[in-house]
Symmetry: C2
Subunit: 209 residues, 2 copies
Amino acid sequence: MTDAVRTGRVRAAHLGPERRRPEVLDAALAIAVKSGVGAVTIGAVAQHLGVTRPVVYSCFRDRVALIEALVEREGERLLASALAALHSARGDDPEAVFVRGYQAFLDVVADWPDAWRLLFSAAPDPAVADKFQRARREMAESATQWLRPALTAWWGVTDLDHKLPVLVELFMSSCEAAGRSLLDQPDDWTTQELGELYGRMICRAFSVA
Amino acid sequence: MTDAVRTGRVRAAHLGPERRRPEVLDAALAIAVKSGVGAVTIGAVAQHLGVTRPVVYSCFRDRVALIEALVEREGERLLASALAALHSARGDDPEAVFVRGYQAFLDVVADWPDAWRLLFSAAPDPAVADKFQRARREMAESATQWLRPALTAWWGVTDLDHKLPVLVELFMSSCEAAGRSLLDQPDDWTTQELGELYGRMICRAFSVA
DNA sequence: CAACGTTACTACAGAGATGTAGGAATTTCC
DNA sequence: GGAAATTCCTACATCTCTGTAGTAACGTTG
């Protein structure tokens, strides 16, 4: 009984690597969200799929490549949506822009909660830690592009080069906090309510930077 | 070459479990901060100490007990200091209180950066994840006790039961963000400057909650 | 200085994960 | 219906980490 549990499991369908790959990533995501990235082993993924390990190896060279592909896919998805959310928030009234921004952002979190959990509450082993960091850094980069003009145009923040990294850090953290609150207490808050509160608060915070 | 690297390493000093235990925890902390909690294996700790694995086993029953003790020690240290920091920030002017609070808190981070990194940017395996969560939850609990009267007394926040969890989440995240900024750019900001900025901003944010 | 208790080291057995080779089942295409 | 290609499964060798038993070195005390 070394590998596939010798129960009367039926032989898996003949999908082939191409069609199997997304299923593998789905399984990996489910495991990562439930038990942490460290639990994403080839064996665990195979078992979760009802398949033996060599099938998984036919889709991804090794464990690291699998997790990299997962972070890539989910990061892409989240970045694109979050960017769209930010771009949808434009206008002349800072508070209104912030409110709409957080609301749109929280809708994204609500749409892909697992992608969010993977990237922001996960436990990266050292082997793949840099991939996670890169994904987060890309989002921070987009946030910076969005924040910089706001800070100068609306509030004339002085000493921007000095403060910008700190403000971006705060902004990213506020997004994480909002996302956590939304996912932890899904019945207490709608994305609209929570986004409105956060938009008001953080807008106000930045106004005194 | 199964265990202790067969180089001409000298036999380790005869300290005994009691005196060795703190050294073991120090080594574990260093490894955890550098390479993640997942890298804290009995073997790695032993090697970092220049000792063989059974010596480590004489100090802690197993790997989980070791990590638990580590989280316990560092969490205790950080909680006590952070509590003292919060209690030192009292007064009638909300902004001044927040500024002093963040400043005192950032001094704690600066004093024990590794304890901070361990508890707030670490990667817990599922096996010990709950211990980490408990440590963080304890700090959040203290923060709640500190925040609740402020929110009612100063700003008469309505619907407090509903909002308090969200505001605590934001507050904790802001502390994490401030800590990260401090540790990532140690030359750009003093604890006083950064605490002043954060105190002003978050005070302002809560005032419109 | 000799005997005893303490401490550290060597060596082993087992669990679990990795990655691969070769054979069996299924599907596809004449 | 039968050969060929594709896909999956079994089985194996290896690695790393865990945890433990037995042995050698040290230090302390009479």
